[in-house]
Symmetry: C2
Subunit: 573 residues, 2 copies
Amino acid sequence: MRTSQVLIPTLREDPGEAEVVSHRLMLRAGMIRKVAAGIYTYLPLGLRVLKKIENIIREEMNRAGAQEILMPILSPAELWRETGRWEFYGKELLRCQDRHERDFCFGPTHEEVITDLFRREVNSYRQLPMNCYQIQTKFRDEIRPRFGLMRGREFIMKDAYSFDRDEESARVSYQKMYEAYERIFTRCGLNFRPVEADNGMIGGTMSHEFMVLAETGEETILYEEEGTYAANVERAEVLPPASPSTENPLPLETKHTPEMKTVLDVCQFLQVTPAKLVKTLLYQTREGEIVAVLVRGDHEGNDIKISRLLNTAAVTLADAETVTKATSAPVGFAGPVGLKGVKIVADHAIRAMKNFIVGGNAQDTHLLNANWDRDFTVDTFADLRQAQAGDPSPRSQAPLVAAKGIEVGHVFLLGTKYSQAMDATFLDDQGKDTLAIMGCYGIGVSRTAAASIEQGHDAKGMIWPVQIAPFHVHLLPVTNSEMVQETTKSLYHSFTDAGIEVLWDDRDERAGVKFNDADLIGAPYHVTIGDKGLKNGTIEIKHRRTGEVVKIEPSRVLAYMNEQLAQFQLPRV
Amino acid sequence: MRTSQVLIPTLREDPGEAEVVSHRLMLRAGMIRKVAAGIYTYLPLGLRVLKKIENIIREEMNRAGAQEILMPILSPAELWRETGRWEFYGKELLRCQDRHERDFCFGPTHEEVITDLFRREVNSYRQLPMNCYQIQTKFRDEIRPRFGLMRGREFIMKDAYSFDRDEESARVSYQKMYEAYERIFTRCGLNFRPVEADNGMIGGTMSHEFMVLAETGEETILYEEEGTYAANVERAEVLPPASPSTENPLPLETKHTPEMKTVLDVCQFLQVTPAKLVKTLLYQTREGEIVAVLVRGDHEGNDIKISRLLNTAAVTLADAETVTKATSAPVGFAGPVGLKGVKIVADHAIRAMKNFIVGGNAQDTHLLNANWDRDFTVDTFADLRQAQAGDPSPRSQAPLVAAKGIEVGHVFLLGTKYSQAMDATFLDDQGKDTLAIMGCYGIGVSRTAAASIEQGHDAKGMIWPVQIAPFHVHLLPVTNSEMVQETTKSLYHSFTDAGIEVLWDDRDERAGVKFNDADLIGAPYHVTIGDKGLKNGTIEIKHRRTGEVVKIEPSRVLAYMNEQLAQFQLPRV
């Protein structure tokens, strides 16, 4: 393709609206343009990347035995009401009414629609397992859309849904998808890691996220450096402490701690480490119950673990008014001793502590030498805190290491959550009505493109993996001499005939401008044709990733490129 | 692909909901399923057809120099307000509000979004011509969605938009698209005809529709049997009558015509032919003006021609109350003589008439021997009626022939309608701000699939063109003998390896069931493998379209199929 014949509106300046590198570079390289907050047009270069990712996904999903279908973008509210998600989903679900005032949503996910299809069309265990997928534009009405394609409102997803006759078979389907995802992200040329994850709003019993590793990632993952355990920090289990404290209990003591509201304040004032403190966090469940959660001063509560223990959909930290009402003290002085009418649960770590410091439930007051059981009653001890780097792995006890990641895929074993709500059954081999065991499997297509940039870029621009680059070769003639132009044209045709994708910069621009745009766009190979080189019988090929430059005879350039590309399993385009 | 591993829920009975053959057969063959009125899920076989049509379109659009992009499904209201279409579009436009109460619509077409892109990103005549296209799910909130994919609400379109520096260049861009469309529908294997068409709500100065010819088509086209003129009946010009009547004017006469409200009633009562009558049709413009339109008794008014003459967006026939108020008579007795306060316009044909019959503007009254100019004043004579079969062609004067068609594509020369409204300019070669001349070009992808079925089917099912058939070959082993199964398996692999797309009916069903499903699904070649044939050294290949059956040695089957398919330029899949 010739630069003059394709819309690539590169920008020299960083656009003000962009907060992350992928957003900034996709705007600068003319790959996307904003239409509204979190809503973009994909220009030709951007769309080429998406199509390649889509085709890799399609090839691997088909290989794994999944069938491609296409469900509608609009979902009728009736189906969402059957599972309760019409109410539950909240404002992220974009709703509309048709001219007859019937309710629809712009589907952010399609469990309801596929489960409805299943219950109508599939009758027998003989038709199982079944796995259907689609690649489709979806919408989530994020409060603060930002970061370009990383957190857009309208985005492209691959979503797949499996139906199985029993749990064992469902685990096989899940494993097939897990392996397909490993192949997909490997083929996309990404450095990624599958991690254990929470099932969240989707529900179900098991899930893994596929994380592209990048310093700019919003997610934290913890993993064993040598072993196989890896989990989202939200999900990572923390083992109970190995041995309890052997201290003798000391008498409870009241301490005046004027204006000392934070752990840091109290530690400095009392000259102790945060590990001697216990924080009393007041949470409110979705049902409105107030619960006190105790975690050690140097730990953070984990909302998901707390919600799961309390058997509620979600918890939030109580507001100041609620805290004051429950503790008779301003925020910062809550404590378990003498706390009335509020259930107290505690993280495992507390079980090993003695003679710790807690809030006094009165202004400017803390208690020293508090001890559980003696001074207050804990309803349940459980793993309630966020894991941290250095915590022992729940699998090998080796210390966990932290990294930042971007979630690009998520696989869920759903169980019967949706089949039960929608009565999606089949006849088993005994002729008995049986609920299908489901799984669902998502990949953010547009987000994968952005994640690849977050992982692969430098100060000059993007560095695309060969497999999903918008073009393999950026062809850069640096003068208008006949020799340069003829050689360029001939190379362009020989590349194109060989199935190598070329962007030919045929603009009448200075070499510097062309080189800058080429580095910005980030095709893996830059082929530079200049008079000086040609006179010496060479053409320069730059590897964008390493910066390495090789000089090659013109007649050998095609063979060199063919060798380079033969290393990769490229998607059909 | 094996039938047992893909969801093809064929139905033996005709589904009650289906009114047209394509809808009925796509449901019966398990290609689509309804989710809500006019909203469907495409199952694997249906999606395969769509993907092939999409790929033919993509290949031909790229060949014609258009660039693929992808605009968002949601369009912000601000852009639609700039062109006035936010108000003008009415209830067909599905609207919604995001969580911040900002207005969006689910884009049924993308002139506003692309024109906004153009004005931001294109500055110079050097960047023109530019033609961008996308293939996307769109939504139109039809009052009565029906006929399956023929008139769905959510549907798949290819839409393209061209920008040119002047009218001449814009006509070249238009012609390129016209020719690309001819190639596309030819490659889809369809019998179609491009016809002149009205620009309608899209606006602009010239347009052609691409009509798939089918008896079940909702559109009527008129064309020269030998020549090149072809037009939608709504658009076809009618020449003024060759020579005026030579009768002498007779005196105006009032006639009592009790309860004679229709042309037929009056003709029978007075023993005259409808060509002696003039109908007085009262129309209301969108602005509220009432206008009397005179057409001959055997002619029909053409709303589009009438609107154009009256320079209004749309006209509707006035309701009974308005008619009574304007004419002082019940509906059926309106006439031009003595009609006050209403502009009178007349079809050309009236100019040639003398001594005609009109309504008397009083109950049960008609006037005989009316003559224009003597008895009433006509503001304008113009071509205001619907053309009919037998009318002389405006090009050659040869009689026009009528046929039924289904609109699958529409190309428009828009002129500056959108660039003016949105101030989309570029700098011309003199450095002057100039409005871009636009064109837009649509293809209904899902409707093309349905139109192909309307054109190609018989009592047993669908008859797909080879190019867009879900599979090339339906492989039908009729027994479970080892010989049949081994031969089938071997053929399946040799077909697949050769890039021939095969659906292998591996179900444990009777031969009759398999044959019925194969005829229903309509792959072009049915390869039947039976014990008797194999013992005689033959395999049967049925051509679905003609019913012709050839018997071929097993070793020659692959070569035969390769020869058959080599005739076609098949899309990449």
